[in-house]
Amino acid sequence: MDGSSLAAIWLTCKLATLVTVLLLVVGTPIAWWLANTCSRLKGPVGALVSLPLVLPPTVLGFYLLLLLGPYGGIGKAMDALDLERLPFTFAGLVVASVLYSLPFVVQPIQNAFEAIGRRPLEVAASLRATPLDAFFSVVVPLARPGFVTAAILGFAHTVGEFGVVLMMGGNIPGKTQVLSVKIYDYVENGDYAQAHWLAGGMVLFSFVVLLLLYGSRKQSSWSR
């Protein structure tokens, strides 16, 4: 394996880790709101969050590119604030990946919250826990299997993405060239040996991830 492959692996791990952490932080309140709201906005917001499940990644990447680029609203705002525009940067990859993997994190957490129901919160409140206290001392521990599933899916899905990365990040070695794009590069250049290393590694990685996922699910259903 050559240096550029290792750089791509490192970059991918960095991206996926950062994105997973951000997704848990952003996705948890969204999941909580979706699990508990009676608002009429529940349907539209739920659908919006789930869009990346259905849309081709290139569509999402395309619109993000337009929005964040020099003629897009956010791109212009960033220019005005003297900030670097996001397309073709690592930060841009992070933003795109968070949006793209959001449903994979929100849905398991939302399901876990819904399965817990209101009762444990009512009990905690009757024992003088404030709502925030009850959330961290009761809901988070009870929803742990949901969080584990969400983290694994969010991480794995970010590692596996291709279309959004290509649209938003391009293919800049060491900066935005992640694994999936690197494999595409090798294949395009006929370097099948290098492609095999990375592709085979991905197969193994994905298998292990799914093994962990199903393992944790079985365990959690047993402990209930």
């Binding site: 009757s126 826990a129 206290d133």
Partner: protein, 355 residues
């Protein structure tokens, strides 16, 4: 304690105005769907009745006229639900400590006494999933009480338990009744639990309070037959007077005595018993040729129609200033004996349920 709540749902309106004693167990009794649990949830602050008012002891928990509404976590109350509500991710000890810590009882005041009172000392290290239903409820009650609440709310705490488990937990609840000096609101649709535990009875039907008063006096009312139907009857508070040689136990109450079969309570202890109206028959004079043991002289106070067809309920006064008794007899017998208010009769009690 004062409570006024009015809540309207499609097809159901709750409208209650309660003034309850600051001590003792108040049973909110009524059929399912009558709104008794909603009343409890309003008191807890889990439900907000707009325009509601709630005062417990000297503190106002809700007064919407002045925009006062304490959130539940700011109300010093203990709450026990129908089904086991222990946190599954915490051991029994951690469950107990959860409320203690947050209620400013980190030092565990009363912890040991509570373990003994509810018989849960041996369970401390266990996980809730390894407890029986009755054990879980006992831990839940201890957890609630260790927050040193000013009011204890029990929402059908025995309804999810089978008869055997119920019998196992009732003595603990009785012991609590003796120990606690805070008011208890006990929601139930089981007449036997109410008869055994309550001091005060609030009858709720279709979202309204149809009766509220001291347990014994309220149970003896003639106009509530439809709420109790076949379970109509009174509760007598008696004292165990003596264990007699032939295996019978003599119970005494102001205005009379009752004989019941063996019960392992020592002389001097108090015992509640329940006499169903359907188990009381009337005669005009005392017979010596009857196998019925408990024959009590009484005076007819009033007569009203019973819920069962062809029957009437007769309210009787046992001795001067003694307790009231209900008898359910057929209208035909009433006519044959010409039973009317003011008449002296003899009540024959076919069976006494010891509580």
């Amino acid at each position: 304690m004062e409570a006024r709540f009015r809540l309207a749902y499609p097809g159901f309106t709750l409208d209650v105005d309660l003034n309850l004693p600051e001590k003792g167990v108040t049973a909110l009794f009524g059929p399912s769907g009558s709104g008794k649990t909603t009343v409890l949830r309003c008191v807890a602050g889990l439900e907000r009745a707009p325009g509601g008012f709630l005062k417990v002891a000297d503190s106002i928990w809700q007064n919407d006229a002045h925009g006062v509404f304490l959130p539940i976590h700011a109300r010093p109350l203990g709450l026990v639900f129908q089904e086991a509500s222990l946190f599954p991710h915490l051991s029994v000890r951690k469950n107990l400590e959860y409320g203690m810590k947050r209620a400013g009882n980190a030092r565990g005041e009363g912890f040991d006494a509570m373990l003994d009172l509810l018989g849960i000392r041996a369970l401390l290290a266990r996980d809730p999933e390894h407890l029986s239903g009755g054990e879980r409820q006992r831990v839940a009650i201890a957890r609630a009480l260790l927050t040193r609440p000013r009011l204890l709310l029990l929402d059908e705490p025995l309804a999810a338990l089978d008869v055997k488990k119920k019998q196992e937990i009732l003595p603990y609840l009785e012991a609590l009744r003796e120990e606690l000096n805070i008011p208890v609101l006990y929601v139930s649709h089981a007449p036997d639990e109410v008869a055994r535990l309550a001091d005060h009875l609030v009858l709720i039907q279709n979202g309204r309070v149809t009766a509220s008063g001291a347990l014994m006096a309220t149970l003896a009312r003639l106009d509530l037959g439809s709420a109790f139907t076949d379970d109509a009857g009174v509760v007598l508070e008696t004292t165990v007077a003596a264990h007699e040689a032939d295996g019978l136990v003599r119970l005494e109450f102001p205005g009379g005595r009752l004989y019941v079969t063996e019960r392992d309570k020592p002389p001097g202890s108090r015992l509640r018993c329940r006499i169903h109206a359907r188990d009381v028959s009337l005669a005009l004079s005392a017979h010596n040729d009857t196998s019925i043991l408990n024959v009590l002289p009484a005076t007819v106070v009033a007569i009203a129609g019973a819920d069962a067809p062809g029957h009437v309920l007769v309210q009787l006064q046992l001795a001067e200033g003694g307790p009231l008794l209900l008898a359910r007899i057929t209208e035909r017998s009433r006519r044959a004996l010409a039973i009317a208010p003011g008449m002296a009769v003899v009540a024959q009690v076919k069976s006494v349920a010891l509580l």
